[in-house]
C-alpha cells in the first residue's frame, strides 16, 4: 500500500510507545501519533494532554489540546499545575513519553520555538514554549517531530526554548534536569538518534526511497549517516487503522 511521508512519520513515532506509557502530546501530528499508538500498538497507554485531560476517549480528533474532544469520556481532569506536576514528579514522570515539535533544532536536540533575533529586535516570532520546555525538562522519554529543512536543523540556536542534551556529554544532568534527553527526532525523511556518549545527533533510519545523502543535504550541521538503516515499511494494517480509525476526517493527514 502507498503511504505519505506524514503517515510514515506518525507511525514511526507511534511505534515507540509502549503499552503502559503515559503519552503526553501536543496538537497536530504529535497528537495523531499518540492516538495511532493507542489504536495500533499500545491500547492501554494513557493519552494525556497538558490541559489536564487524562486518558481521553478521543472519538473525534481534537484540533487543539483545549478542544472539548479531549474532555469527553476522560478518566480524570486536572489543572495545568497538576498536569505538569505529573511530569515533574519522578514516579509518574518516568512513565511519560513526550512528543513535541519546534521551529528549529541543533545537533544536541535543543529546540527553539520562541524567536529568531533578540528581544527588542525580533526577526521571526514563533508561539513560544507552551508546555514543550516543561516536557523536555522533566520526562524520561522525549520524541521530537521536525520537518527536515536546512533552516530548521541549525548549528547554533538563536534561542534555546526546550532543553535537549544541551552541550552534550553529561551537561544536561549537571544543569539539574532529568538526565534523559531526547531519544529521537522524527522527520519527513528519516529518524535521528543521539550518540550515547557525546549526545550528538546522528542518522538512525532513513525512510524507504530516501537517500541518506539527501538527508545530509537538508541539515546545516555535519551529521553522521554511517550507521543509518532503512525504516521498516508501514504495514497495510497499520495504514488502514491510521486512515480509517485515527484520522478518518483527514484533519491532519490531508
Amino acid at each position: 500500500m502507498d503511504y505519505t511521508l506524514k503517515e510514515i512519520m506518525v507511525l514511526c513515532a507511534a511505534r515507540k510507545i509502549k503499552n503502559h506509557d503515559i503519552v503526553f502530546c501536543g496538537t497536530g501530528i504529535s497528537m495523531l501519533a499518540a492516538v495511532a499508538a493507542k489504536h495500533i500498538y499500545a491500547p492501554d497507554c494513557v493519552i494525556f494532554f497538558e490541559t489536564g485531560a487524562i486518558d481521553s476517549k478521543l472519538e473525534k480528533l481534537p484540533l487543539a489540546v483545549s478542544d472539548s474532544r479531549v474532555m469527553y469520556g476522560a478518566q480524570a481532569f486536572c489543572s495545568l499545575v497538576d498536569s505538569f506536576s505529573f511530569m515533574q514528579n519522578k514516579k509518574t514522570g518516568a512513565n511519560i513519553v513526550g512528543i513535541i515539535g519546534a521551529a528549529q533544532i541543533d545537533p544536541f536536540g535543543n529546540l527553539n520555538s520562541t524567536m529568531i533575533g533578540e528581544y527588542g529586535d525580533i526577526k521571526a516570532r514563533f508561539p513560544g514554549s507552551g508546555g514543550a520546555c516543561d516536557v523536555a525538562s522533566f520526562v524520561n522519554t522525549n520524541i521530537i517531530f521536525m520537518k527536515l529543512e536546512k533552516r530548521k536543523f541549525v548549528h547554533t540556536l538563536p534561542y534555546i526554548t526546550s532543553p535537549g542534551w544541551l552541550a552534550g556529554e553529561n551537561s544536561r544532568e549537571k544543569q539539574g534536569l532529568n538526565p534523559q534527553g531526547p531519544c529521537a527526532v522524527i522527520t519527513d525523511m528519516g529518524i535521528m538518534g543521539f550518540e550515547s556518549r557525546t549526545k550528538k545527533m546522528f542518522l538512525q533510519e532513513f525512510y524507504p526511497g530516501i537517500d541518506p545523502e539527501t538527508i545530509k543535504e537538508h541539515i546545516s550541521f555535519d551529521i553522521d549517516i554511517s550507521k543509518a538503516r532503512q525504516t521498516i515499511i508501514p504495514k497495510d494494517e497499520e495504514l488502514k487503522i491510521l486512515r480509517e480509525k485515527t484520522d478518518p476526517e483527514k484533519l491532519i493527514l490531508n
Binding site: T27, D67, R69, M115, R125, T161, G176
Partner: protein, 327 residues
C-alpha cells in the same frame, strides 16, 4: 429557577468592564487557545478602547490575539501564542511583536500556571526545575532596569538557587518563578450564581488560580442561577462567592471559542479569522465592523455566526458538536 434576585455583584458587561478594567491595568484572562476564552468581555474591552494593558497568560490563543491586534496590549508575559490548527503562531501577535508594538516576556506553560498559583497562595514565588539550561533563564524580555523602574513588574524574571535541603554533594538547582497578582482576572464559566459562586464544567485550565490571584474578578457566565442552587453539589464549584466581584450573564460568552457541554468553537469563523488576522488592514476592518460596529455580544454573534449558531450547540452527551465543519 424562578426570577433572578438582584445582587450588587450582578451587572451588565459594559458596567463590569468600566468598573474593573482601567487603562494600563495588569490583567489576565481564562481559557486555553480555542476554549472558554471570555470573548464577550474581551470585545467589550476593545469597544471601550482600554489600552496599555499588561497581560499575563499561559496559552490563550483567540482572546489574546484579538486584544493584541486591537492595540489594547503593551506588555505580555506569556507561555504560548498559537491557536491549535487555526494558527501555528497567532497572526496579530506575530506581527505586533516583530513591529515592536508589544514587549513580551517568555515563560513556559507550567511556569505561568505556577506563577498564578503563587499569587493565589499568597507567596512571592514557587519552585520548579523546568527550563534549567535554557534561554528562558538567560534571556529577559524586560531587562533589569525596566523592572527596577516599574514597581508593578517582578524584580527579576526568575531566580536560580541551590536546593537548601539537598543531601547531595553537588547542589541541585531550583528555579523560582515570581507570583502574579493581577488587577483583574476575567473568566468565562458555564454557570455562576448571583453571589458569585462559580462552576466550570470540563477542564478548568488555570482559571481558578488566575481568579484567586487577582485583586478583582469578573465572571461571565452562560447561565446565571439564584443563590443556593449550586450548593447541592459543592464539590463541583471551583470559586466561592467571596472570590468574585462581578457576575455577568452572557449566553455564548465564550464564542467563537468553545464552552464544553454547551457549544463548540466556530471552526468556520476561526478559519475566517485566520485570513482576517494575517493582515492588519483586514484586522482593522474586522474590529470596525464586527466589534465597534456591534453594540454587544449578541449582535456580534448574529454577525459572525448567523444561522450556524444551531450547528455549534453541543451534544449534551459528548460536550461538543458533530455538526461543525472542521476541515
Amino acid at each position: 429557577m424562578g426570577t433572578i434576585k438582584t445582587d450588587t455583584k450582578v451587572m451588565a458587561l459594559d458596567q463590569a468592564i468600566r468598573r474593573y478594567v482601567t487603562h494600563a491595568d495588569h490583567i489576565t484572562i481564562g481559557g486555553f487557545t480555542l476554549s472558554r476564552n471570555p470573548m464577550a468581555a474581551i470585545h467589550e474591552i476593545i469597544r471601550q478602547g482600554i489600552c496599555e494593558l499588561h497581560i499575563y497568560i499561559h496559552s490563550n490563543g483567540q482572546g489574546f490575539d484579538e486584544l493584541v491586534g486591537a492595540g489594547c496590549i503593551s506588555k505580555a508575559e506569556i507561555a504560548y501564542s498559537g491557536n491549535g490548527r487555526f494558527a501555528p503562531t497567532c497572526f496579530c501577535f506575530k506581527r505586533q511583536v516583530i513591529n515592536n508594538k508589544i514587549m513580551v516576556e517568555d515563560y513556559t506553560n507550567f511556569q505561568m500556571a505556577l506563577r498564578f498559583l503563587a499569587g493565589a497562595m499568597g507567596v512571592p514565588f514557587l519552585p520548579t526545575t523546568s527550563c534549567l539550561g535554557t534561554d528562558i533563564i538567560n534571556k529577559w524580555g524586560f531587562d533589569i532596569e525596566t523592572r527596577k523602574n516599574n514597581s508593578r513588574l517582578s524584580s527579576k524574571k526568575l531566580v536560580v538557587m541551590d536546593n537548601p535541603f539537598s543531601k547531595k554533594t553537588a547542589p541541585e538547582k531550583i528555579v523560582l518563578v515570581p507570583a502574579i497578582n493581577p488587577d483583574v482576572t476575567i473568566i468565562h464559566a458555564q454557570r455562576a450564581d448571583t453571589t458569585g459562586t462559580t462552576r466550570i464544567n470540563g477542564l478548568t485550565f488555570s482559571d481558578i488560580e488566575q481568579a484567586k490571584a487577582s485583586k478583582s474578578v469578573i465572571v461571565t457566565c452562560d447561565e446565571l442561577l439564584n443563590p443556593g442552587l449550586l450548593n447541592h453539589d459543592p464539590g463541583n464549584n471551583q470559586l466561592p462567592s467571596f472570590c468574585v466581584d462581578a457576575v455577568v450573564h452572557i449566553p455564548f460568552g465564550a464564542y467563537p471559542t468553545a464552552c464544553y457541554g454547551l457549544y463548540d468553537y466556530d471552526a468556520q469563523f476561526l478559519d475566517l479569522y485566520r485570513s482576517i488576522a494575517s493582515s492588519q488592514e483586514r484586522f482593522n476592518l474586522y474590529i470596525k465592523d464586527f466589534i465597534l460596529g456591534t453594540k454587544d455580544h449578541a449582535e456580534f454573534i448574529e454577525k459572525a455566526c448567523g444561522n450556524r449558531l444551531e450547528q455549534i450547540k453541543a451534544d449534551p452527551e459528548t460536550g461538543y458538536s458533530d455538526r461543525i465543519k472542521r476541515n
